[in-house]
Structure formats: structure tokens, C-alpha cells
Symmetry: D3
Subunit: 233 residues, 6 copies
């Protein structure tokens, strides 16, 4: 791990991010080619919240939140702080005091592949958090790490300035350069889904709506009345 | 995996299932001999919901929801769709559009040993779901599987037409042929528990109510005042 | 496992425990030297509840809740029951009836490194529970265990009579002899945090508030403008 | 769980099983339609052993091996004992003494979705075991279960008398009625693989051997020289 | 965590430990009442090794091996070093150099609830290790911890000076004061098992040898010929 | 996921990689600043093998090995194939036939964050593999993915052409541009460790060799004779 704090990282266009956010994590993930989802391991500590912003990243030593303090200084309004650790940890690296600090700087929320604590207070404050764990286990401030370097969570790479969207389905990362294209694709998808929703509500089947009957046949799926004797494969 | 869609599967008597449902998952599981519980890995995406119905089963390839679409056609009012994958997966195979389709067909809910997404929308719709994960990770529709074959979740076998009951404690499966017997046993258990509840609320101990003092003695459990020196076993 | 029920275990001073409780799990854990936290694996079945009390411990065989019944008799008002198993288990060892019995004896809640069931009913009753799982899987009453022996959960040792505090962040154990000292340390911490909260809300950085800039420099952390070529280490 | 010991269960034809066994777990699993594999959670305690036989099943309470003793009586030469528990357990339910007993009855090995112990002695004896864990944790003999009922491991259903084959890749179950068909399909597969092996060793690519180039094109996979700018999806 | 290094900890009688060791982990665990087993999560990095000694304990911060160096000084010939972390970690806290140091002091092996590295070299050296993981992930030496305080691994409490025995089945801890009693009980068990082994090898069943037929009947287990229709429970 | 096969990816200088390899995974990981380790989840299927080479990457759909076939064509002598999946999977995506094909192309081994099968045959062939699982579960060839795009395993980013070194401790990735610098740093580290090894073998303590006594004191670690009463923190 290079022990650096990268300053002046460019951000994705926040106006575009703010248009992308209400479309939701699942839609955006699909729109960019089923990519960028940080995995089911990151869960919200609150229900019904959807936020978007630009990533500031922090890479911490397990059991140590020194670099979160360093990262706070690099944050500006519209950012979401994205934290991970050099090896897996569930320790409670973040709580009410850090949230107070970030909120004062205009940070919109936290995504952390580790633990958080003071969750009752965080809910009361309305500071949104997606984390890998809730844990009261305290941390130290002894070991160096990095701020605004590329990090990897759930098999996805998050670079400083990327767009981050988070809701009840989890967290998705859109590369900074792809946000405009992602917005167009996501909006097209929403329009198409609206049509599908109506058809399905009217009783049409996905088999017909998506033309899947031929696919089933082509893959050798047979319809068999219950009770028919049936051999292998 | 046999690539078949079994049609015309018989269902458990829905009127009996509807009598069994309000007795709850834990009671029904006990009443059928501590059997049929699909395990703590399936959690509801909503709180305070209890539903019952008859199983339509789908066996999908990991990362692929083709067979859920095929299963939808086999569903009828009163069914619960039960989905698993050929190997473990947390991908978000089910969301708002599929729920819209199932709801239009009278399906009462989903039990899925994989992931779901659009959970905010699913909660708003009031479509109940028990799943192994929440994940926005999208899936494809490329690989064959099976509908209405026996599947296995949490070490239990679920056959098409079995009764499924789900609530905040998880999901239980009652074999189709056993529903009437299960109902009688569960009702008897409820009556017995009501008596126990009153006795315990009045301060009686389970040790006495269930005659456990002799059991403890027979198994060599000794009462030892605090501070007594005490050797092995 | 010694098959004993230890009677007459002394308790921590309940008046002190009741002063310690509102300070919360994270604060108390920090105040006793980042110790005693039972880990992120124990989660509340309810939100927004904070309770404290004195530990009665039960060590059960997996799949067997015989010793919970034996433990109930050893409980008195102000206690919290702390249950674990001889090897890991998620079975639903505790439900509404046992909660009714414990509530009748003045027990304030349950901490269990295993499963609970009837969670809808437990929430309705207002009986607070922290558990490793929710599971309807039933248990038997066949195998001996122990009551009020030291047990270990999440790498921490819980002794009968220790103070237990639990809230949305999890569960912390304070050794019986340390409660007074813990209270003083926790109160001092709360006072100090109140000052920090105000400073951070006013925009001061943790880097300055906690004097971390020197630490970063001493550990070789460099500030690097974005785009600077950068070698190893 | 029904507390029964089913006697007189028919077995798959052992002569056919003995022909199927040397073809190996992976080949047999493929030959029956990518089915029957008990999952990567069952690992051999020894290297380089491949055995086959007919299943005798035991369903035990966690932490309790009473039913393994009951199952031993139902075993006959050519059988493999298949054990699981009513809820997940890693306890060491099986060791040298039980292996001695089974070996004396002509049992060919053990498949257990729980723990085993005395692994040094088992290796010395040459009694083959596939297990979910190695654990010295002892068990009791207190709670009823079942012998020769259908059980489920790794999402697969194992019925008494089914063919079981196990090697370094894990364990596969072939339904009793399908063994002859499985043998023919597996032999055909082996013949086909032998051809493929030679072609691949000679430098032919799977892309050509299996005709995958069209598949890639049909799915929109593009060949892009390194360094080409590249947008979404 | 109290930041202390406790000096002068008394040890179990090494001559007794050396008599206990060859009886093996499983036998000793049984002999002390099915207690003290540190769980299936600790696996040997080598096969076929059995060692015993007296515990020196170290409690480290995750990702930090400072206290292992401090612990080395407290070790003397006949000791086994037992290491855990304040919260779960798989980092490679121990390797060839530390093993060289411990071997030079007469330490007999390492038990670590975290990771080790240089495993090829450790095997070549013949320094025995039981660990929770193999990991090359390096650690720092920045954060305080404790030496020779009670620690907890796998739900068991290990105190400085306790006897530790480790083999292919894992690791067991015998309280310092109980070693003599454990030896007598383990030797008795070995003698009894030798008789059982012969009887079982001769074809006697555990059902008869341990008198289990009555137990089965008392618990309602019925013998049912295959094919008999069979209701619930 | 972009469905692309990137051709003509440059490789790290193989002569340098071949000098780096014998220094081992742990040393190289330390030499590049405790970076690049792919985590304890990747384990060798063989003991005592150390290989190095240049990465060709493949990103597959779970349960689908189509892109491994596509990746084989992009491999050349000196490469190691690095495979991961779009979401976690343990399926056996790779076996003897693919190994035969890769070996014919001069590929030195496989690193796969998924399952492999035919492990007995792979060991016999001497084709080295590091994998997340051993599983006979077969896969299909139906869904697109990518070859030679950056992938992420264990929180580390692997880019095509990076140096990969693997041994009994796991797998490390060195960025292509850093190999020369890594070699110098690793060689320096080896020299330094040789000195330390001798000192430690002679009985010197790490406490003195690394100057840790002051660190302990500065962090408040106190030496306390056994039996001393001791308060909090």
C-alpha cells in the first residue's frame, strides 16, 4: 500500500450524478452493462434512503481509522466517502463524531467495507451509511494508509471522483467518464421498464414479452405433465 | 439437472393451508415433528408479514433467471413461488417487474435461495419476499433449468404443491399429503401453549411445568453454591 | 463442560449498572480499554432499544435448551440472561414462552449466541433480544449443560454477575469488579466527546482536533497532487 | 423429523456402481445432466482416494451421534454411510471406533455433512471419509433421528440405496434407478473427452474444438486491440 | 484490553503434560468432560504431528504482531505460544523468522487464531503450527496488546500456563490445575476404548456395546420396513 | 461488464519475473509495500510449488466458463491465467482438459477465484492451480464476459500483463511497471532477513533486534508480575 494522500482529484459532474441517482442502484447497474455493483455484503443501516455523490476513497489498516480523518479533509460538498481496509475487518471504524465532521463538510454519506457504530445516533442524525457490519469494536489511529487511490470492493474498482449511488439494494459505482452515457442508458431503461410493467400488470407473461419461449426450446427444455416417467437429462 | 417444466402439479388443499398459516412458522414446524424449516438463511425483506400458499418451484442456473419467467406461467392464485439455484448464488434474480407479473397471477409471495433487488419497490407494492440476500447484481436469461421439480433448501426437500408458510421467523414447508394432519397437530399445540403461557406469566417455572428437574438430576447436573471448589466433569 | 448450576452468584451493583447503561455500548467499550465487546455477530431483533443488567449465564448443548429452563430459576429482577452453546448453533432455542417466563421474573432481556424464534411476538411483548440468528428450528431438552459458569462469546469472557449493556451497536460486558471504574471513565469520555462534537460540527477537522498531522508525517504519509507519477511504497 | 429406522431399503446394482466409480465424480456429475454433486463443502480427509457404493442415510440431531450407531446395523458390504444433521453442525460425530465398526461390516467409507475426528487414525486405517469439518468436539447419544430416510446435502437429495461416488473432487449421488443410464452416458463422455484431450494437447483451441467462436460473436463479444478507447457495454 | 505483559506465570507440570500429549486431542477433550476444544477453525499446516506444552498467551491488535515479539521473551522450553487478536483477522502475523526465534527458546509450536505465512519454510523447519488461515498479508508493529492474560478462542478460555495439546484433530486446552485429573481420566478412557475397538472389529454393534437399543425405543424410534406408508412424527 | 477480448496486452519483463519468483510471495508482498496479496481465500491444490508469470485475465459469468476458452487463445508461454467471476461462485470452471490446452500453450498455471475440478489429474499432470474452491460442479458456455480487462480479487486489482507469483502462501500481483523496483526491494529484504534469521537463531529477541522495547513503553504497555491486582486500561 502506497502511503499517499492524493489531492485535487477531479470529480464526476455532480449535476449529472444528481440526475442519475433517482433512477436507483439496480437500474444504473444494468444500464452500465451489469457492472459496478459493490455486492450484497454492503447493507444500509437505514431503510428507504437513496443518495448519490462523488467518491473520495480511503484505504485503512484493519482496526485503524487514521486515514478516515485524513480523508475528511479531502471531502467537499457532494462527495460520498468510500472506505475499505487492507485486509477484511468488521471493526467499528466510524461513528457519530466522524459523521458530524463529514456532514459539516457537505458529505452526503458513507460507504464502508468494515463496521460502523453509533447506529442509533447516525439514524437520528439522518447521515446515511452502507456498511459491511455494525460493530462497537473501537479502533486506533496508528498505522498509515492512503486517501484517493483506487480501491476495490466486492470485485469492483472504485476510483476517486467516480459516481456512487446507494439505496436499499446496495451501492453501485459508475466510472467518472461514463456518467453521461450511463444516464442516457438508464433513462432509456426506465422508459422501457415502464412499458413492461404495464404489460405484466395486465397479465402478459415475461415468456412472451421477452420472447423466451424459443430460448427454452432451443436449450432443450421440455414441458412434461406431472406424473410422466422421466429419465436423465 | 433435468431441463423440464412439469405441468399440472397438484396442490395442497388451499383452504387447509389458509387455516394453517395464522398458526405461524415455528408452531407448524414443531407440529410436523420439528421438520420442514428452510433455515435461518432465508430472511424476510419486510417485517410483520405472515403468508401461506402452495409451492411452485423453480431451479435456476446461478446468475440466470430464465426459469423464473417459465415458472410464472405455471403459477395460479394461492401459490408461492420457491426458487433456488444449481449452485449457491446471491445475485438479484428477482425484482419489481417479476413481482408485478406474479401479483397479476395471484401469487402470494416469493421464497428465494438467492438475491432479490428493488426491495424498496417490493415493500411499497406489498409483495412479500423471503430471500438469502438483497443484491442489485443483474442476471441473464441464457441457461436452462427446471420448473416444478423437487428442490432442496436448507436441507429440506420442497416438492411442487407442498404448503409453504412464511413469517418473521422464516419459512416452513409442509408436505402436500400432511397438511390436514399438520393442522390438527398445530392447533393442539397452540392450545397447549396457551395454557403454558398463562402458567409462566404467573411465575411458574419451565422446570416444574415441563417436569425437567428429574431430567437434570438423571443427567448428573449438580447444584453448587458459588465459590465451591469444583473439579472436572 | 462441567454439568453444574452455580447458585448464589453475586451481581454487579445494579444502581451503578443503571447509570452506565444510558452511556451506550460503544462508549462503555471504549471506556474500559476497548474491551468486552461481544462482536458484530450478535444483532438486536428490535431497533432503538438500550438495556443493561447483570449476567446470568447458560451453556447449552447445540439444539437443546434444557439449561435455559434451569437458568430461569437463577434469574432475579435486573438480570439479563446470556446464553451460548457448546459448539456453534443457530437453532431457535428461545421464544415467546421462555420470554414470558423471564419477564415474569423481572429479567430485562436476552443475549444469545444462537437463534431465537417468535420474533414478531417478542417485539410485540417488548422483550429485548440480541441473537446470532433468527430461526424457527426447534430444540430438545435432553442434554446437560451449565448455569452461571464463565462463558465466552466473541472472544470475550462473560462471568455471572458481570454488567451487560446492549443497544443497536451490539452487546458489551463489564467485569463485575470494574463497573464503578467503568462508569467514571465512560462519563469522562462522554464529556470529552461532547466538546469534540461541537468542534467537528463547526468544521474543525479530526486531523487538527486529535493532532494527527504529525502522526501522518511520522508514518511517511505524503500528500501527492492527482496525476503525479508515483513509484512503490 | 420422523423418528424411524427404515429397514430393507433396496440398493442400486453394486456391479454397475463399481463400473461407474472409476470414471470419477466430475464425469459422472456431467453425465447425469450436471446433477447430484453434494457441493464443495464436503472435502476428503485423504488425498488420491476414489470409492463408490450404495447409500445408507442417517439424519442426526446436532451434537448427537446416536443414529450413526443405529445406521451401522442397517449397513452391509458395498454401502457408503451418508450422514447429515437436522441443523448445521461441525461437531466430531465420527471417529476411529465407529470406522472400525463400519469397516467390520464391509462399509466402504463415510460421507458426513458435519465433523469427524481421529483423522490421523482414520488415514492410517485407510477408511475413506468426506466431511464438512475436522473437529475433536465430542457428541452425546441422547436425541432421536432417522435412518434410511431421504436426506438433503448441498441442495441435492440422497435417497437410501442411491449410488454414491467420492474422490478428490468431492461426492456425487446418482439416483438408484438411473445408474445404468448414468454408466452409459459417462462412458460415452469419457470416450469423447479422450479425443478432446489429444486435440488440445496438440495445440487446438477449445474455441475451435467446441465451436465457440460463433457463440462469442452472437453474444456481442468484440476483439479490441489493447489501448483502444472503449465506452460502456 | 489491558496493555500488560504478565511475567512469571506458573505453568502446568510439564512432565504430566508430556504424558497427556500422546493420548491425543479427542481423547483428552472427552476426558475433561467434552471441554476445552478450540474448535474446527484452527487447522494444522502440517499432517501427522502431535505436540503438547504449556501456554504463553498473546493478544494482538488485528494486522499487528507487536505483542508476539513481546511474548517471545516470556517463553521458555516446553511452552506453546497461543495467539489471538482483538477482533477477527486472517493476516499473516507469524512466519519463518518468528519461528526461528521461538525454536531457539525451546518453544514447541504455535496456535494462532489468525494467519501464518512462510508455510513451506515452517514445514521444512519442522516448527508445528495450528492456525485459522494461511496468508502472506503482512502486519505492522504499532499497537499495544497483552501477553499472558486469559484469552478466548473458539468459545474456550485459555489461561497462561494451561496445558495445550494439538494434533491433526485440532487443539485442546486443559486448565493448569486439572492436568493430573485429566491424565487419569484420559488413560482410563484409552483403556476402555481399546476394549471397544476389539469388540467392534469383531462385528459387535455399538447399539449393543453401548446399550443403545433401549434408548432408541424410549425416544420413540420405530423400525419400519421400506415402503410402509408413514405419517407425521 | 464490457464484453471485450483485449488483444496484444503488453507483459511484464519475464526475465525479471523469473528473478522475482524464487523470492516468494510473502517477501514480494512486503517489498512492494504490503500490497498486491490476493488474500487467504486462494489456496493451492498442491503443496510445495512456487511459480511466476505474467497475467492473462478472464472475467466470467458465474457457472459459465466460456471466457476461459476465449482467454486460452490470448495466452503465450510465460503467462499465468487469472480468472474471476462477475459474482461469487465456487463452481468447477476448470479441469484437466483446459489444463491440457493451457499447458500446450506454455501457460505456467492458473489462479482462479472460483472452483476447479479433476484435482487428482491436475496434480498428476503437474499443472499448478490456486483456487477458491475444489468443486466438481459443472458449468455451461452460454454467457459473455471479458478477457484481458482489469479484474479485482481479494481487494487487489490485477491488470493484464502484471507479474503474478504464487506459492504455498497464496498469490501476489506486482503491477507491470513496478517489477524491476520490486525485484530490487525484495532482494534487499532477503539480505536483511538473512541477518535477522541468524541473530534470532542465536537467541537474540525481536524486541531488541527491531528496537521494540521503546515502542511498548511509548504505548503504555506495563510489565506486571503474575498475581498483581490490576485495574482497567
Amino acid at each position: 500500500m502506497r502511503n499517499v494522500i492524493v489531492t485535487g482529484a477531479p470529480r464526476a459532474d455532480l449535476a449529472l450524478v444528481d440526475q442519475l441517482t433517482p433512477l436507483g442502484v439496480a437500474t444504473v447497474h444494468e444500464a452500465i452493462g451489469r457492472a459496478g455493483y459493490l455486492g450484497p455484503g454492503l447493507r444500509p443501516i437505514q431503510d428507504g434512503t437513496r443518495v448519490g455523490g462523488t467518491a473520495v476513497t480511503a484505504l485503512c489498516w484493519p482496526g485503524d481509522n487514521l486515514m478516515i480523518h485524513a480523508a475528511a479533509e479531502q471531502c467537499r460538498p457532494g462527495d460520498l466517502l468510500v472506505v475499505t481496509t487492507a485486509s477484511p475487518s468488521t471493526d467499528g471504524m466510524f461513528g457519530e463524531l466522524l459523521a458530524t465532521s463529514l456532514a459539516a463538510r457537505g458529505v452526503r454519506g458513507l460507504v464502508i467495507e468494515a463496521g460502523v457504530r453509533d447506529v442509533a445516533e447516525l439514524r437520528t442524525m439522518g447521515f446515511p451509511v452502507w456498511s459491511a457490519a455494525v460493530s462497537a469494536q473501537g479502533t486506533v489511529k496508528e498505522t498509515a494508509g492512503a486517501v484517493n487511490v483506487p480501491v476495490s470492493i466486492g470485485g469492483q474498482i472504485v476510483r476517486p471522483g467516480d459516481a456512487i449511488i446507494a439505496d436499499d439494494d446496495g451501492v453501485v459505482c459508475v466510472p467518472r467518464a461514463d456518467v453521461r452515457q450511463a444516464l442516457a442508458a438508464a433513462q432509456a431503461r426506465v422508459a422501457k421498464e415502464e412499458q413492461a410493467r404495464q404489460a405484466l400488470a395486465d397479465g402478459q407473461l415475461g415468456l412472451d414479452l421477452y420472447g423466451l419461449r424459443d430460448k427454452l426450446a432451443a436449450r432443450g427444455v421440455r414441458y412434461v405433465p406431472e406424473g410422466t416417467p422421466d429419465g436423465l437429462g
